[in-house]
């Protein structure tokens, strides 16, 4: 194999093949996906997915900046493939349409922590999230998730008494008497983002499982 130009062309054509196949083709096939409409219980039409509100979107930027993706995935695998659905990480598998409005798609490749696709449904309490972010071992014994004390401010309790939004810390995690820990705006944004993560909407390509009784899960999630 002493012929330079042939080598050169071979090198270019081999990579060109997957460049068309795995880059351009997906772009053509998936790049045109749009939001879907579905009707909820009350007869209202819900559009899904929707772009995030400002506060939650700022939180998404923090999620990116702090590298939560290195321990948390955001994709639910199909029923029967792994235990994603059995663990309650989602009611249905994730599909391409779920991600069309994500500026940066953070599917993730690691589950050192649980999948967060539907954390907003599973855990809607902002107070829980704030406490967990401050130090995960307060809410989850034995957690190896990093504490994020820098998203909070530790300050002296003012003349007007403790702030209403101060974290309730006790035992080993309590701060010195006369001090309190309050969330900075960043902590609130991140929690808004986490609370916005929910995908329990019925889609033609991925239906929610039928519920035996009561209201439709779709309608519930849409509220």
């Amino acid at each position: 194999m002493n012929y330079g130009p042939l080598l050169f062309l071979g090198i270019l054509f081999t990579l060109a093949s997957s460049w068309f196949g795995l880059v351009l083709m997906p772009n053509r096939q998936l790049g045109a996906l749009v939001a879907n409409t579905s009707t909820n219980d009350a007869g209202a039409v819900v559009v899904y997915p929707q772009a995030r509100s400002g506060q939650a979107q700022q939180g998404a930027e923090l999620y990116r900046s702090l590298g939560c993706i290195y321990c948390h995935s955001q994709q639910v695998r199909p029923e029967g493939f792994g235990a994603d659905i059995a663990r309650g990480w989602g009611k249905r598998r994730s599909v391409s349409r779920d991600y069309i409005y994500e500026p940066t798609v953070m599917l993730g490749t690691s589950r050192t922590g649980p999948d967060l696709t539907n954390i907003g449904e599973r855990q809607s309490s902002a107070e829980w999230h704030l406490t967990h972010l401050y130090d995960p071992r307060i809410t989850s014994k034995g957690s190896i998730m990093p504490p994020h004390p820098f998203l909070f401010e530790k300050r002296r309790i003012g003349a007007g008494g403790a702030s209403t939004n101060a974290l309730k810390l006790s035992g080993a995690f309590a701060v010195a008497a006369g001090f309190e820990v309050v969330p900075r705006p960043e902590a609130r944004q991140l929690v808004e983002y986490l609370r916005s993560l929910k995908t329990s909407f019925d889609l033609p390509e991925a239906h929610l499982p039928k519920k035996e009784s009561g209201d439709d899960a779709n309608a519930k999630a849409a509220k």
């Binding site: 090198i11 460049w19 795995l22 880059v23 391409s96 940066t104 690691s110 504490p147 004390p149």
Partner: protein, 495 residues
């Protein structure tokens, strides 16, 4: 593609009958490489040390989350990508570029063209990367795996890479040697593939992000190909050069080399989407990647057979030549990591190990066990030739090898098993997640111990190099003798 006239010409292209002229040319080539290569190698090693420190911090944090938790710059989600980018673009890419340029010059029989400008390119590479790593720690990471460097850092890297690749290609064009040795195919391919991958990913993920999960597809097409089409060809090109070189006999089979190269070129670049098995992408894309991943058995087995039969009867030489020891260790790890990669891409196995620490172990078997070890071997060969000084301490060489070899085994073995157990536990919905986490702790702690061993090896290597450089710039006390690099005398016989 014409077969070589005689097999030996594959090993020693264009054997100049005039021994003197040949030696003079090789000495000239080595001397011309001195400044840019020393710059690439020394800065690569500096990044290796930085990367090792960042790795240790991340590793400790995973079993001791309170460690350095107060500072946002050192939170796990920033230190980990800083580690990855420091070792991938700072260490592995720079030493890979250095080895590539040297091999190109030698195999083409052309002295380094304008070494001063290449040194400037190296300077910019380090500048861009430093800006980028600080950016990641400051919170500007893109959180796109393997592409975390913030967008303001990448143009500097691009500029620098363009210069470097042009160097390689110019050298190739100026070649005075008609025969193209197998290493040259791989190196030329790497030089051309890398910018294509990086440019595509940078445009479709950072500058003008594609919609939705197309990003996932592009991300893994890119990230997997950085391994398969950048590091792998450089590593294999080096193995193909150094094994025959040190043991003094040609590659076993020319035809296996051809088959190995073209099957790698055809199949590897379709592999990436097996990182998204079970994910929210159309099934055909993932299936195509799984098929291509299984096809990788062809190049992997071909290359393994070719290297093994070249080495057959010469394994005794591993004892005396550090270059051979590191390179052969790397070649074995290449086979192992590739087979592991094929297994990981099968749906049933991926269902278990995807999302676990198993993947991290696999990545280290590839980038460390294979690529890094081969690069160490190459540096043991090249550095004495471009500096004209031997390695001062054989003890440090041994320490380097054994610390890295044992450290790697301790890293990859247990963490691979721990990852499988983690995956099995995670797929059992009756097991609370806290138990899954607790089950991984022993393996994560062992990983920190393994990391310390690897760090020890790196320090030994750097100490030896610093010692050697003191001799370069200090008074000349020692003749160039061949203590280490096998059966030929450096700087004298060369290629």
């Amino acid at each position: 593609m014409s077969a070589p006239a005689k097999p030996l010409s594959a090993l020693m292209p264009g054997d100049v009958s005039d021994e003197h002229a040949k030696r003079a040319l090789l000495a000239e080539i080595d001397a011309s490489c001195r400044v840019p290569l020393l710059f690439f190698f020394v800065s690569a090693l500096a990044w290796l040390l930085v990367g090792t420190a960042l790795a240790l911090v991340s590793s400790i944090k995973l079993h001791d989350p309170a460690f350095l938790a107060e500072c946002p710059w050192l939170t796990f989600g920033r230190v980990r990508p800083a580690h990855l980018n420091a070792v991938i673009y700072g260490w592995a890419s720079q030493t890979g570029i250095g080895v590539t340029l040297w091999l190109m010059c030698r195999l083409c029989r052309v002295p380094f063209v304008a070494p001063g400008l290449a040194t400037v390119a190296a300077l910019f590479w380090n500048l861009g990367l430093s800006v980028g790593i600080v950016g990641i720690l400051a919170g500007d990471s893109t959180s796109i795996e393997w592409l975390e460097l913030p967008r303001y850092a990448t143009p500097i890297l691009f500029f620098s890479y363009a210069l470097i690749a042009v160097w390689g290609v110019i050298t190739f064009r100026l070649r005075r040697e008609r025969h193209l040795y197998v290493s040259q195919w791989y190196l030329l391919a790497a030089l051309l593939w890398f910018p294509w991958l990086y440019a595509t990913a940078q445009i479709l993920l950072v500058l003008e992000p594609a919609r939705g999960v197309v990003q996932g597809a592009v991300n893994w097409w890119f990230a997997h190909n950085v391994l398969g089409l950048w590091f792998t060809p450089i590593g294999l090109g080096a193995i193909y050069y150094f094994i025959p070189k040190v043991i003094g006999r040609p590659i076993h089979s020319y035809y296996l080399s051809v088959l190995g190269f073209w099957s790698l070129a055809l199949f590897y670049n379709w592999n990436g989407l097996h990182h998204l098995i079970g994910g929210p992408l159309p099934a055909w894309m993932i299936t195509v990647s799984i098929v291509a991943s299984v096809m990788m058995l062809i190049p992997v087995i071909t290359v393994a057979i070719n290297h093994h039969f070249t080495m057959r009867g010469h394994f005794g030489k591993l004892k005396h030549s550090p270059t051979l020891r590191f390179v052969v260790f790397g070649a074995v790890c290449y086979t192992l990591t590739s087979l592991q990669g094929v297994a990981n891409s099968l749906r049933g196995y991926s269902e278990i190990v995807h999302f676990t620490h198993h993947t991290v172990a696999h990545a280290h078997l590839g980038v460390y066990g294979f690529f890094t070890m081969v690069m160490f071997g190459a540096m043991y060969y090249i550095l004495p030739r471009i500096t004209g000084r031997e390695w001062p301490s054989l003890g440090l060489v041994s320490l380097h090898f054994w610390a890295c070899a044992i450290g790697l085994a301790l890293y990859v073995g247990p963490l691979s098993i721990g990852g499988i157990l983690q995956g099995l536990a995670m797929n059992d919905a009756t097991k609370p997640f806290a138990d899954v986490v607790a089950g991984t702790l022993p393996y994560l702690k062992l990983r920190t111990v393994a990391g310390l061993l690897l760090g020890l090896g790196h320090v030994a290597f750097v100490a030896n190099l610093v010692w050697m450089l003191c001799r370069v710039f200090g008074p000349y006390r020692q003749p160039v003798v061949d203590l280490i690099t096998g059966n030929e005398s450096p700087a004298a016989v060369g290629k």
